[in-house]
Amino acid sequence: MYPYEAMFLVDPNLYAEDSEAVETTVKSLLEKHGAKIVQFERWDERKLAFEIKGHKRGVYLLAHVEMPGDGVDAMRRETRIIEVILRNLVIRLEDDIPVYLEKSAKYAEIMKEDHEARRARREEAAGMDGGGYGGGGGYGGGSHDAPSAVQDTPGS
């Protein structure tokens, strides 16, 4: 038994029709291959970065499971037959699931703080000198960290 993170992209239309049935399908698929579901999470419907099997939007289901390695291949093979699942990704985790969940919660917190600090700094800079190009001029006059992030839909 190894810890895995499994994500499934499911058809949003079918999910809207009967969310429970879709979730049960995914859960039973996991359990059929010997997985013990530790955590099961649903992300809100969001826009996909590109079309996948003719869909522009999708619902993500994220499961943290413990399962035997043999089960993963068999499960992934089976996902191709199931129509609701548009795409799936299974990742073997380095840590046990409780440790991983703790770490990722911490990660999310740190990143959120960083984003807020960054936004505050940007607003301050914009307010201070009307968006000047920095005294020195040339590349790297100011903080050239990254292009301003595109706003993302919530739910990640």
Partner: protein, 82 residues
Amino acid sequence: MKTKDKRKKKNFKKLGERRCRFTRLGVEFVDWKDVPTLQRLCTGQGKLLGRKRSGSNAAFQRKVSQAVKRARYMGLMPYIGS
């Protein structure tokens, strides 16, 4: 002989701020599900920023690369941006 060398001196950031953002924040890994952070490390076209641009150290640049590829596969990030 004077050479026509008029290249500007590169503007390096001060040593203190040049460090890798992930090291600075003290995280241990890069989450492939955290799209806003990954987007910062990509261009508008969806290409990964180079190390000089993103400032990541080698270990984290590899992790970022892996994370972006996973996010792309799941349709969270574009292969080709707008």
